[in-house]
């Protein structure tokens, strides 16, 4: 999407908004409305300017998008609700950007909202019944399986996994929109109960409520309306995983010679954005468990396969390091309202690229990367440039 000959059709994030992530009594319509209004305000646009809307969510009833829009004002625009598990927001962003780039619209609203059911998520939503009956349906199981193998193949340690969680729990001190803002250190994480070996409780994220929104517009609109704070979208790439996809909900994991979906999505994203992984200045990645972040360092090509543990130890991904990852606190501290989480990442990246991230501000970033990965191997990578 970058370097189009016709820059009028480049795509931008004109504004972002967020409703803090946590647990709230208010209905999802309220939560979504607040994030959307903040994004429109940030873009200095009105709901009347929006031509098309996408609403990402995974656990809401039908017609969530329109239910949010009616709290703002029914302007009659087309709306599509999007589900792609934890990558729903990225999928929505992909579609929104594609429409703007294609000239089908100039201003598109994409937002994610979630209000999670209390207690256990119904596993039959994702797993075949027999796996639930046999106890093969526990959420961090497949992550535990992946981590154990990675430790065997590459020498990754529980300490390194805990260091990722500690980093993110420390980062969240400065994020008022995060759910957990108490800093934690490595020992506290390793002292927390083990859920599925080798993953400790405080190295795993919890689902919660929240919303975040982005107003996407064309280069044409940025120019004519002088939207100086607009941030360019170099790419919004979405892919589904080839076989196997041992990401929850499946029981077959036979090797078939395919790359994992984060690897393939990243390669496609870097090519589409015409950048190299070294050009990325900061990243917000899917840390639903802390081991995952180590894996993403490798699969996003920030380091070689097997070197993810070394990378966290090097300090490179700390806020003051060469490639800060999850300065927002990550999903581990923010919690995860699945539909909203990619937009939460975009919100953070936009603030950082504008230099408006306050205490979380990293040093002079130009290029930010957002990565989300959901059940059934649905992956979205969005790259922004100041």
């Amino acid at each position: 999407m970058s370097d189009t000959e016709d820059h009028r059709r480049d795509t931008y994030v004109a504004g972002v908004g967020i409703h803090e992530f946590g647990r709230f009594e208010k209905p999802f319509e309220e939560i979504g409305k607040e994030a959307v209004l903040e994004a429109l305000d940030d873009a200095e646009l009105s709901v009347h300017d929006v031509e098309i809307c996408f609403c990402a969510n995974t656990y809401l009833p039908t017609s969530a998008g329109v239910r949010v829009l009616k709290e703002i004002g029914r302007t009659g625009i087309p709306n599509t609700d999007v589900d792609a598990a934890c990558a729903a927001g990225a999928s929505a962003l992909s579609a929104a950007s594609a429409l703007v780039e294609a000239g089908a619209a100039d201003i598109v609203l994409a937002f994610g909202v979630e209000k999670m059911p209390r207690g256990f998520m119904d596993p039959t939503n994702i797993y075949p019944e027999w796996m639930c009956h046999m106890g093969l349906s526990q959420n961090p199981q497949y992550w535990g399986l992946a981590a154990t193998r990675h430790m065997h193949d590459h020498g990754t340690t529980r300490r390194q996994i805990a260091d990722v969680a500690a980093k993110n729990h420390q980062n969240s001190q400065y994020n008022p929109n995060a759910y957990y803002t108490e800093p934690m250190n490595r020992e506290e994480i390793l002292d927390s109960p083990v859920v599925c070996d080798p993953l400790h409780q405080y190295a795993i994220c919890a689902p919660n409520d929240g919303a975040a929104a982005a107003v996407i517009c064309s280069g044409d609109v940025v120019e004519t309306r002088r939207l100086d704070d607009a941030i360019e979208i170099l790419t919004a790439t979405h892919r589904t995983e080839k076989f196997p996809s041992p990401m929850g909900g499946t029981f077959n994991a036979s090797p078939a010679g395919n790359e994992p979906v984060t690897t393939t999505t990243a390669a496609a994203a870097y090519e589409s954005a015409d950048i190299q992984p070294e050009d990325v200045d900061l990243a917000e990645v899917q840390d639903t468990n802390a081991f995952g972040e180590i894996l993403w360092y490798e699969q996003l090509d920030f380091c070689a396969t097997g070197e993810g543990g070394t990378m966290i130890e090097s300090g490179a991904t700390r806020p003051e390091g060469a490639l800060p990852v999850n300065v927002s606190g990550g999903l581990i501290s923010k919690g995860e309202p699945p539909g909203a989480s990619p937009f939460g990442q975009i919100h953070e990246l936009v603030l950082q690229l504008r230099g408006e991230a306050g205490k979380r501000q990293v040093s002079d970033p130009s290029v930010g990367l957002s990565h989300v990965l959901g059940a059934m191997g649905q992956c979205g990578i969005t790259i922004l440039r100041a």
């Binding site: 046999m134 535990g144 859920v195 080839k242 076989f243 077959n252």
Partner: protein
């Protein structure tokens, strides 16, 4: 007393005295990818040239985890009471060209990557009509303990 498999397409030759069954696999004739159970199309390359066969019952642990908390409902193999839950090893096991997930009947302290296991069949629970539902699990064999 009759018995059936935990789900359609996974077992054949089911008998109850003693409990036994043959597990099934499907292998794609075009790309060679293998799947536990029955498939009509290859999940890898979309080919319809897939062949069902019997799954051998010896394999090796590729990876494992230990489930320290009871799983969510609907669980049928026992109680989900936190106080009585025993840590349960779960593994990916390689049998021929198939890698699939299953429970491991072993002491959590003695489960390791590379352990040789056998795949055994046993009754898991009873349906409302009193029929036994047969399940599979992995059991360490040989020197691996």
């Amino acid at each position: 007393m009759t018995a059936r498999a935990f789900a359609e397409g996974f077992m054949t030759n089911i008998s109850t005295d003693p409990y036994s069954a043959t597990l099934l696999k499907t292998v794609c004739r075009e790309c060679g990818t293998g799947f536990f159970g029955t498939k009509e199309r290859c999940e890898n390359c979309a080919s319809e040239h897939v062949e069902q066969d019997e799954l051998a019952n010896r394999g090796e642990i590729y990876s494992y985890t230990i489930q320290r908390f009871p799983p969510p409902e609907p669980y049928r193999l026992g109680s989900t009471d936190r106080d009585t839950w025993n840590p349960q090893p779960v593994a990916y096991v390689d049998i021929e060209e198939i890698r699939f997930i299953g429970l491991v009947d072993a002491d959590p302290k003695h489960v390791g990557i590379g352990d040789r296991v056998a795949c055994v069949i046993e009754p898991g629970w009873e349906t409302e009509d009193g029929e036994d539902v047969l399940v599979y699990k992995f059991v360490p064999v040989g020197d691996a303990q």
